[in-house]
């Protein structure tokens, strides 16, 4: 579609017309593609909102891809044609916005504005009717339950991040010196493809507990009983320690990510440096701590930051494993509960805004990196 469309409006024909008339055809095409987009939108919306409709999801998806992608390509091409035919200097001025405009509009509509609107909601009452100032924030910080929630997120950030980074580093270093490097890395990396809900099921099964006199079907309790212990409901007992059984799941999921980045970084260390240190009599731990670690510090910071942000937003694992009960609730699950269970818009928005404020240092860091970039 992308390549045939401009040919349907041969440039030489269009150029032949006078100033205004050469715009007519492209403008009509632009209106037509807009009509196609809106019409397809209404059709798809009605197809899907009719609960009784027996339209196969594959038909809908096919239509959607045709309409969504085709329609967008059509819109882009026709818009481009219109802009090209405007009198100078408008083509050169508007052309860039034809390219970056769609993405910017989507970004502003789906992320930038909602962030602002959430902040405004957080200053209003539960039903978003009247302004209450910072009362929701005061509520959040004085609520005993919320303090547990913040503590849990702190546990996630501290232990989730440090252990994911350590395991990733360990595997990267070990694999680098093993003959089974490719296989080992594939196996550790595999959980990256698994959803958090799926991982929740996998680990629920590992932690499964049966009554004392029944055979244990969960691996962990089976080992504990085999060693003479009592079976435990690992995720439901003894807070805050049960949080660690949830954190273990995310370590299991994310170590692959940190391993891949560390592995690439370690392979980037010039072999001469390592050889020279070894020739000078450095022991392997010395090589690791005094050469490798400083050399890949940048990667360690990147991975660490990514995982801190990730654990700050952790939601799926907790919802699936405990539903936020037994003292395992975190910011994101609490946000969901306030909004969708208690319908408390103000309180829920305040929690979301706190989440945003928590990642602001990272945003600032990213922006500073960008500002320091010389070529842009």
């Amino acid at each position: 579609m992308a390549t045939t469309m401009p040919r349907s409006i041969p440039p030489d024909v269009a150029r032949g017309g006078s100033g205004a008339s050469r715009l007519v055809l492209p403008l009509l095409a632009l209106l037509a593609s807009l009509a196609i987009l809106v019409g397809g939108f209404v059709l798809l919306r009605d197809l899907q909102t009719q609960q009784s409709s027996s339209v196969s999801p594959i038909v809908t998806a096919g239509l959607a891809i045709l309409w969504g992608v085709g329609g967008l390509v059509l819109l882009f091409v026709t818009l481009y044609q219109v802009v090209e035919r405007l009198p100078k200097p408008w083509p050169a001025r508007l052309e860039p916005w034809v390219f970056v405009g769609p993405a910017l509009i989507m970004l502003i509509w789906t992320l930038a504005l909602p962030a602002l609107r959430t902040f405004i909601l957080s200053l209003q009452d539960a039903n978003s009717v009247s302004f209450v100032g910072f009362q929701n924030y005061l509520g959040v910080f004085s609520d005993q339950g919320m303090l547990t929630v913040f503590r849990n997120n702190l546990l996630w950030m501290l232990f989730g991040t440090s252990l994911t980074v350590s395991f990733g580093l360990l595997v990267a270093v070990l694999a680098d010196r093993s003959r089974f490097e490719t296989l080992a890395k594939s196996l550790i990396f595999l959980p990256m493809a698994i959803s958090f809900v799926g991982a929740g099921v996998i680990w629920n099964f590992v932690y499964a507990a049966k009554p004392v006199d029944a055979p244990q079907i969960g691996l962990l309790n089976s080992i504990v009983v085999g060693l003479g212990g009592q079976p435990q409901a690992w995720t439901a007992f003894n807070p805050p320690w049960n949080n660690f059984f949830l954190i273990a799941i995310v370590i299991w999921l994310q170590t692959g990510y940190s391993m891949v980045l560390f592995s690439a970084a370690i392979k980037g260390i010039p072999a001469e440096i390592l050889e020279a240190a070894r020739v000078d009599g450095a022991t392997e731990p010395q090589v690791f701590f005094q050469i490798m670690i400083p050399y890949i510090m940048g990667t360690i910071i990147t991975v660490g930051t990514t995982i801190i942000i990730f654990t700050l937003k952790i939601f799926d694992v907790v919802i699936v494993m405990t539903g936020g009960q037994y003292g395992t609730s975190v910011i994101a699950t609490e946000f969901y509960r306030q909004y969708f269970t208690y319908n408390n818009n103000g309180y829920g928005s305040a929690i979301a805004t706190i989440l945003l404020i928590a990642v602001m240092p990272v945003m600032a860091y990213n922006l500073r990196q960008f500002a320091q970039r010389e070529v842009f």
């Binding site: 509509w109 595999l190 099921v201 099964f205 010039p270």
Partner: protein, 370 residues
Amino acid sequence: MAKGKSKKGTGQKRFGGFWVNGGLIIICLLWTIPVLGLLISSFRDRLDINSSGWWTVFPHQDWVEVDKITPGPEVDRNAPMTFEGVTGTFEDFTKGIESNGQRLQWIGNRRIGYLEVQKYQWTANTAFTLENYKQVLASGDYTAQLKDGTTETQIGDNMGRTFLNSLAVAIPATVIPIFFAALAAYGFAWMRFPARRMAFALVIALLAVPLQVALVPLLRDDLTIGINGTYLAVWLAHTGFGLPLATYLLYNYISGLPRDILESSFIDGASHYTIFVKHILPLSVPALAAFAIFQFLWVWNDYLVALIFIGASPTNQVLTQRLAEIVGSRGQDWHLLTAGAFVTMLLPLAVFFGLQRFFVRGLLAGSVKG
């Protein structure tokens, strides 16, 4: 891998010995055993899943039934009973009584149960079945054949249809943001316009924004235009949430393409449109593929966005929602959970094994996802 190292030229690769490989094997086992347990269990009969660990499918020593005694109605179950010279109450026999290298165990209830004569020997529980998968994929009631000859009818989990729903969500939610991002990346990399730096700074700033802050206002807009609960709402959300990373990654790639190819095209009078379609897109295939895999896995595995924008609408639900629902309502039905979980993992694992190289490249290129 040894080849990659020898390029650096200084000496051979130093392979570690026992400790390196031993440590690596232990970690690999820790990482794979949970998945293996799930996979094996999903093929086991539901009676087996609940009465023995999945590891008993491997050869092990255990009490195995060698004979069966069915006590007649004349035996008083409430008094001590004697079989094969062993005396005990009903409770004793239920636990099993050992003597002369064999064990007698009462199976079933007091009235119509029977005694198993068991010997301790090598065995493996290898009764595998596809019933669990048929049940989770079925729509409507499904009657499963159990190992002991009985049947059990439960409502199917309709994951066949749900699987298609997941595809319907994931494919457009992957293609649309890539199209937008490729255009924007080209614009940022190859065009000069006022406010360009500021616009790109917005992309960078939005990289780290947690999507939780955007959910509720966006949901309200969806309600206003009447698309709440449809795929459209999810595509829009995923497009928006995926765009910062997509634009950033593709910008990094496209801005690094060799300038001379493009500049010679400009001199020949080619338009931006021609250059984008004829040169940039073909040259960017590796980056586009890397991000496509990334976004596809992300959307497929997403639960939160689907939960908010599709909600409880059962006809449009995706796999993660359905699986979470089974966890919530039938959390002890391991035959459904294991098979269901594996159905959700099937496509991501295939993508992962088939396209691991691109996926790793995508990971190395970008870091933070909002």
